[in-house]
């Protein structure tokens, strides 16, 4: 973990992990994916479950 002794701050530059399912597999970040897959993940809308 990063620590900056000048400001006494922990974690500068550390990103949140956002686990997503891309083509069936879980990933911690979408950065490593090609553009088509990233765009697909970005476009997803939620499905209302109330009728189920």
């Amino acid at each position: 973990m990063t620590y900056n002794p000048d400001t006494q701050m922990v974690g500068e530059g550390v990103k949140f992990e956002r686990i997503r399912r891309i083509t069936g597999y879980l990933v911690g970040t979408v950065d490593r994916f090609n553009d088509g897959k990233r765009a697909e993940e970005r476009d997803r809308v939620k499905h209302d479950p109330t009728k189920c």
Partner: protein, 772 residues
């Protein structure tokens, strides 16, 4: 007649005599020669040569240039010939430098994975490591070679132009996709990994370790993901062995404490002798006959019969709990190993999946409960495990309804999936899965793998319609939207072309199969050498695998049904009932053609709802270039996955499930339906369960629910994080004052001095993951 020539990339083009003449003129100019009229004569001589050959073979560019050189020298134009040769060589270098392969190599060599689509093609390989980069060079060279020399010209053209996509093309001539590994068969009598022999495991720890090794070993023999078909039944034997061991050790312990001289070894012999007599052994639900016989024998071994009674009572009371703890640890280790192990030259964590859900034995249930609990707890710092994909088999009468034996595990699976995204759910009762199911043969339970592959029907051998020991050989997908765009609303033309490309794919799969068939058992030391693949145990090390791999499937996939329907009929299947009808007709047509091929060749051709993979961007990129931006068709950066309703289309979960379910019945090579849920679903398990039950009732074969799962590595918070972490209050990339983390009870033992500029290896041990 010289009418056409073959270009360097394999394409056949119309012969153009001007090109030869121009090249000769250039060489003349460069050499200072002025015999320009001879350029025509030399060109004629070259043409004459090829016409005289009286052969129908089309010459290549290289052959023509060789002949030009020959004719220049024969005409006494030695200096011109020299120039021509130099010119030719320099053109070749330029061409080399410009060739696609070299450009790709430049990209691999000089760009960062973050900027390079080539490097990110397989997200599971770290394209920035030396091993990952080496794999990339190999993979790109192999593709280049296979495209130029192994595909027929029409296949190469279709693949290159994006009408079809041959998956795992870099492995074209090497191996098959995947196999459902049966652990019971594999572990029996021990097995060899290709790097050494492993004895039959004898407790749950070694069962779990060997299950990992099995996945890793098979990863080296096949190019697809690895799957265990019977994780419950397969590891239950390990629990049985651990129980027995701990049980006898508990008896020995009490005897020892109470002054009896009875060793563990003696007890093992005693127990084995009783098992010989009555067929039972110590187990979680005790066998009454065994217990009675054992007490008799124990009393003989002990001086004081009261000690015998106490020892047995203690063992009967304590052992289940201890076995449960040992099983949890084994499952924790299994998941941890699968998330850290490396394979394939160290660059790729194996894609792994495990199927379970229907084993009703105490021991199988203990395995499932603990693999779910270990998944719930997460990795070392509470991270969500990325591997394995877990697939929970849902079956009425076993786990679907209250009161059924494994109903508690179904409920636990829902709770864990609502937090960790796994397990996914497979549905044994879907009619097309149920029809193969025989309650007396666990090998007929449905199995899925990787992101969706499914193998069960068997046209080659109808007596083996099972999931165990079988898998996919290879698959190729069709760019459906392209065929729809080119049809320009002409339905007949669309179907004619669809038939044409189905035929082409089948031919290509057969060509690839012909290469795969010639491989020998020794090419697959684990998969075939250890009898993992069905019937391979009957083969010798030098035998060809041709016959046994006929149990596998040859699959044709498709992408972008939604865009296809929009291009042909103006609306996709989420928007119009008519379009849904048309969609089912198209996919039904594809299935029918493949069924006919299966019957004709007695092979297993099947239809796959392709999981997009590297394809998602490639097809649409080419099509946008060709046809421009067509609304609802080429206006996104990807084509919609298989038969899915477009991800950006507003629709209820119920409607999506019911529209997609009929396609599951048609796509016998594999399918999956996703539902996206909002918010923290772990706080709304009823809604989550309702969606799973809705899938089951609709006839979905395999489904999963997506929902946001975030984690802050700084404070360890797991859940949904908007812009600000609910626990420590930081924004993405921001720091948190150490003093604030102390107030939250985190990093307790750390201060500015111990934390240090670069961090400290102990700091993370302090973090407390938030409560479930």
């Amino acid at each position: 007649m010289l009418t056409s020539i073959i270009k360097r990339d394999g394409r056949v083009v119309i012969y153009d005599r001007n090109k030869i003449k121009m090249a000769i003129l250039k060489a003349m100019e460069a050499s200072g020669s002025t015999d320009f009229e001879k350029a025509d004569l030399v060109t004629q001589a070259v043409e004459q040569h090829f016409n005289m050959q009286n052969s129908y073979a089309t010459p290549s560019v290289e052959e023509i240039q060789d002949q030009v050189e020959h004719e220049l020298m024969a005409s006494g134009l030695d200096n011109v010939a020299k120039r021509y040769i130099l010119y030719r060589a320099s053109r070749n270098t330029i061409r080399e430098r410009k060739s696609k392969l070299v450009k790709v190599f430049d990209e691999i060599t000089f760009s960062d994975a973050l900027d390079s689509d080539v490097k990110r093609e397989n997200a599971n390989i770290d394209g920035d490591t030396p091993m990952g980069t080496m794999l990339k060079y190999g993979s790109e060279s192999a593709k280049d070679y296979f495209l130029k020399f192994l595909l027929s010209p029409d296949q190469a053209e279709a693949h290159r132009d994006g009408y079809i996509h041959i998956h795992d093309f870099d492995f074209y001539a090497l191996t098959m996709t995947c196999c459902q590994i049966d652990l019971i068969k594999l572990f029996k009598g021990g097995f060899s990994t290709g790097h050494g022999f492993l004895r039959e495991p004898n407790d749950i720890q070694s069962y779990s370790a060997l299950a990992c090794i099995a996945i890793q070993s098979n990863q080296n023999d096949q190019h697809g993901g690895q799957s265990i078909v019977n994780f419950d039944y397969g590891l239950a034997d390990g629990v049985r062995k651990t129980y027995k061991k701990l049980y006898l050790k508990n008896i020995a312990k009490v005897c020892d404490v109470l002054g009896e001289n009875v060793s563990y070894e003696q007890l093992k012999e005693m127990s084995a002798a009783i098992t010989e007599r009555c067929g039972a052994m110590p187990k979680i639900t005790p066998d009454k006959t065994y217990v009675a016989l054992e007490l008799e024998e124990l009393k003989k071994l002990c001086k004081d019969p009261a000690v015998a009674e106490k020892a047995q009572k203690f063992a009967l009371e304590k052992t289940e709990d201890e076995t449960d703890k040992a099983t949890y640890q084994a499952m924790e280790a299994f998941i941890h190993n699968l998330n850290t192990m490396h394979s394939r030259a160290g660059a790729q964590t194996p894609f792994s999946s495990i199927n379970y859900g229907m084993d009703t034995s105490d021991e199988g249930r203990m395995v499932m409960k603990n693999v779910l609990l270990a998944t719930d707890a997460g990795l070392g710092h509470g991270e969500t495990p990325i591997f394995p994909i877990q697939i929970f088999r849902v079956k009425e009468g076993i786990n679907y309804n209250p009161g059924e034996r494994n109903y508690d595990l179904f409920q636990l699976a829902i709770k864990v999936s609502a937090k960790r995204l796994f397990p996914n759910f497979s549905f044994q009762d879907a009619p097309y899965n149920l029809k193969y199911y025989n309650p007396d043969d666990v090998r007929t339970e449905i199995g899925y793998m990787g992101c969706r592959t499914r193998v069960v029907a068997n046209t080659y051998d109808p007596n083996n319609e099972i999931t165990y020991g079988r898998g996919n050989l290879s698959f190729t997908s069709i760019n459906l939207p392209r065929l729809a765009i080119e049809a320009k609303g002409d339905e007949d033309l669309f179907y004619r072309n669809l038939k044409k490309y189905l035929d082409l794919c089948v031919k290509q799969l057969m060509d690839r199969f012909a290469i795969q068939k010639k491989k020998r058992v020794r090419n697959f030391p684990f998969l075939m050498g250890q009898g993992v693949w069905i019937d391979s145990e009957k083969l010798g090390i030098d035998d060809e695998v041709g016959e046994v791999i006929k149990h596998g499937t040859l699959s044709v996939g498709f992408i972008g049904l939604a865009e296809t329907l929009t291009a042909l009929y103006g609306k996709h299947h989420g928007e119009s009932e008519e379009a849904q009808k048309k969609g089912l007709e198209i996919i039904g047509f594809m299935r029918r053609i493949l069924d006919e091929y299966s019957d004709r060749f007695k092979l297993n051709f099947s239809l796959l709802a392709t999981p997009a993979e590297g394809l998602s961007g490639r097809f649409v990129r080419i099509d946008k270039k060709r046809f421009g931006e067509i609304k609802g068709v080429t206006d996104k950066e990807y084509y919609t996955n298989s038969f899915h309703i477009p991800v950006s289309f507003e629709i209820s979960a119920y409607d999506k499930i019911n529209l997609e379910a009929p396609y599951h019945a048609l796509t016998n090579a594999g399918h999956i339906t996703y539902v996206e849920m909002d918010g923290d679903v772990s706080q709304n398990l009823e809604a989550f369960e309702a969606v799973v039950r809705c899938m089951k009732e609709a006839g979905i074969g395999y489904g999963a629910i997506n929902h946001p799962v975030d984690r802050d590595p700084v404070c360890g918070y797991n859940g949904i994080i908007g812009d600000v972490c609910p626990r420590c209050g930081r924004r993405d990339g921001e720091g948190v004052p150490l003093e604030k983390l102390h107030r939250l009870g985190l990093y307790k033992h750390l201060n500015a001095a111990t934390l240090g500029q670069c961090g400290n290896q102990f700091e993370e041990a302090d973090r407390i993951p938030n409560k479930i």
